[in-house]
């Protein structure tokens, strides 16, 4: 189990500080939530961790490795997967192929094997298909297995997004607003998946979410951002009673 430490990270776009001196420690095996009002820098911090942005100052360390300047594909290959806030699925492919794409690095056969297909490529494809089916079962996506992703409903697409991140077999899963725009039932489903992930699969989850009810219910640790600055952290109870957090969310009296 590996700890992810974000230390003193500053991210600037021109003159704007999207993040300033943020320190976050993500302990393995628990659900850590990052909350904050719109534009607080929640997604920016996920982008920094998953390599889409590189912080202008500070360091991101995962176990022994420094991720500060790594690119997204390197980061996904060391076991950090990420689900996007706005659906970033491969719309022209079936659910099955979307998930199989997440097995890209596990399908270790050469171009020649692929052209001949029979033999190694066929065997590895079947093995990884079996793995993908495990995820499909877990995320209850069986009815949509062969449907084109672009034709599915929003809620299901969100679930495919999470499933695809999961198919990378990550130790650390970054979920960027997995419940945005969902109805209460779909939210309950996703919450159930996240809790199962933690319990049965031992995956560390980082959750960015607007629905405070959900966050307070399932998080073990919460970090609160506002205008790119960390304004509070702790267990849900501690955060809920923190005057600075209340001020950021509700405003002054």
């Amino acid at each position: 189990m590996t700890q992810l430490i974000v230390s003193d990270v500053t991210l600037t776009f021109g003159g704007l500080n999207a993040l300033s001196n943020v320190d976050i420690t993500i302990e393995p095996g628990i659900i850590t939530s990052i909350i904050g009002p719109n534009g607080a820098g929640k997604t920016s911090i996920l982008n920094c961790i998953s390599g889409f942005y590189h912080p202008s100052k500070g360091q991101i360390v995962y176990g022994e490795r420094t991720l500060t300047h790594a690119s997204p594909h390197q980061i996904s290959n060391i076991g950090i997967a990420r689900a996007f806030q706005n659906l970033e699925l491969f719309r022209g492919l079936s659910v099955l192929d979307n998930l199989l794409l997440a097995r890209h690095q596990n399908l270790r056969y050469s171009l020649l094997h692929a052209i001949i297909f029979f033999g190694k490529a066929s065997r590895l494809e079947a093995e990884n298909r079996a793995y993908v089916e495990k995820i499909i079962n877990f995320m209850e996506l069986e009815p949509y297995r062969k449907s084109m992703v672009g034709n599915l409903s929003y809620g299901v697409q969100k679930r495919v997004e999470v499933a695809r991140a999961l198919t990378l077999a990550p130790q650390l899963l970054l979920l960027d607003e997995p419940m945005a725009g969902m109805n209460i039932e779909e939210k309950e489903d996703i919450v159930r998946f996240i809790l199962d992930l933690k319990k049965e699969w031992g995956v560390t989850v980082v959750l960015v979410e607007h629905d405070l009810g959900v966050v307070m219910d399932i998080s073990d640790q919460i970090y609160v951002l506002d205008f790119g600055e960390l304004i509070g952290s702790g267990t849900p109870q501690e955060v809920a009673s923190d005057p600075r957090v209340i001020e950021a969310y509700i405003g002054e009296e």
């Binding site: 889409f52 690119s71 990420r82 996007f84 699925l89 491969f90 097995r103 890209h104 297909f117 079947a126």
Partner: protein, 364 residues
């Protein structure tokens, strides 16, 4: 418990390996086998003469080139306006060899399959180099980069002495098991040679598309940010797509050189690049059957329009000028109509027809 493999009904699979098959029913497989067999056998029964055999050979060569273009533009979503230049790279690989070692060099006349592969490798090499801007550029900007390669290619060929300033460089006749391929057997010989190659390449591409090397192409087309997060290098995947397209184009170019027994730059101009793009669009971007239907449709159209304009100019002398404009006009019109009404190409009609037959007599 045995599954019914002949029809779609009751055709179930019990392992993931069974589900990988290309032809889901034995009916499909048999139909395909018969179709390919028919392609090999028909010249024994019908004599179309050299003129039409050349047209057919041309269509087949275009099929190989368009298959390459479809991989990079249809599947990987990278518009390439320089595909004819890649075909030219393949053709000029053969031509350069002929120029340095003589047009009847042993390797050229006897080891022609090796030469064709070498031309393909050269095409792949240039494809990868031209694809390098894909590491940084996207969309239209990348298309302009490929266009620049087309221009550089044409100018190089036209102004370098080594390439005979774009004039024809002769390539000798090839040998087969029965000796030198004679003038009368030339076109039919190449028909079979290209056909064998198409069957091989077709199945190779089909296999590619059901493995990670095909899926990654569609991934960078649909969403290269997500492709990056899935653990592949999106830039290198695009370079690989260009190399793949370059390979097939190079093979097509080599075949062109052998078929015409000579190479001149006039067969690899921007006009031809646009033509290949049109074939890919009319056939259906991002579909394998489209790569076969597009070239067939466009070449047939060309031929029909040519005959029509010939007829028109001989019968209606006053309209002779208009008749010559008929070809580019109809070509443009077809592309516009397809883009407007059937952007998914002829392959989509094929798909609809197939699903109709599969469900007949039920509507859905």
């Amino acid at each position: 418990m045995s599954a019914n493999r002949w029809l779609a009904t009751g055709n179930y699979f019990t392992s993931y390996r069974e589900e990988q098959r290309i032809f889901f029913t034995s009916l499909d497989r048999t139909a395909m086998a018969l179709f390919i067999l028919g392609l090999f056998l028909w010249p024994f029964f019908i004599d179309v003469g050299n003129k039409y055999m050349l047209v057919i050979d041309n269509i087949l060569i275009a099929v190989i080139a368009v298959m390459g273009l479809n991989l990079v533009t249809g599947f990987a979503g990278l518009i390439s306006i320089g595909h004819a230049a890649f075909v030219g790279v393949g053709a000029y690989t053969i031509a350069s060899f002929a120029r340095v070692f003589g047009e009847n060099h042993f390797l050229l006349s006897h080891a022609w399959p090796v030469m064709i592969l070498a031309a393909g490798a050269m095409g792949a090499f240039f494809g990868a180099i031209v694809g390098l801007p894909a590491l940084r550029l996207k969309h239209l900007y990348l298309a302009i980069a490929t266009l620049s390669f087309q221009m550089i290619f044409e100018w190089t060929m036209k102004f370098m002495d080594f390439f005979n300033q774009g004039q024809t460089i002769a390539v000798g006749r090839v040998f087969w098991l029965t000796g030198e391929v004679s003038r009368s057997a030339h076109y039919i010989f190449w028909y079979y040679a290209i056909l064998v190659l198409i069957v091989l390449v077709g199945f190779a591409v089909r296999n590619l598309l059901r493995t990670r090397y095909g899926r990654c192409l569609i991934a960078v087309r649909d969403n290269d940010r997500a492709a990056d997060a899935m653990g592949m290098h999106p830039g290198l995947t695009k370079v690989y797509a260009f190399a793949l397209a370059g390979f097939l184009a190079g093979v097509a170019g080599a075949l062109h050189a052998y078929l015409y027994r000579g190479v001149g730059v006039e067969s690899f101009t921007l006009h031809h690049s646009i033509n290949y793009l049109a074939m890919a669009i009319v056939g259906g971007l991002g579909t394998l059957p489209g790569s076969f239907m597009g070239p067939l449709a466009i070449k047939m159209l060309d031929m029909q329009v040519e005959q029509l304009s010939e007829w028109a100019s001989s019968h209606l002398a006053f309209a002779a000028n208009l008749a010559t404009a008929l070809k580019p006009l109809s070509f443009g019109l077809v592309i516009v109509l397809f883009l407007m009404f059937e952007p998914r190409g002829i392959a989509n009609w094929w798909r609809i027809a197939r699903s109709y037959v599969k469900l007949w007599p039920f509507r859905y």
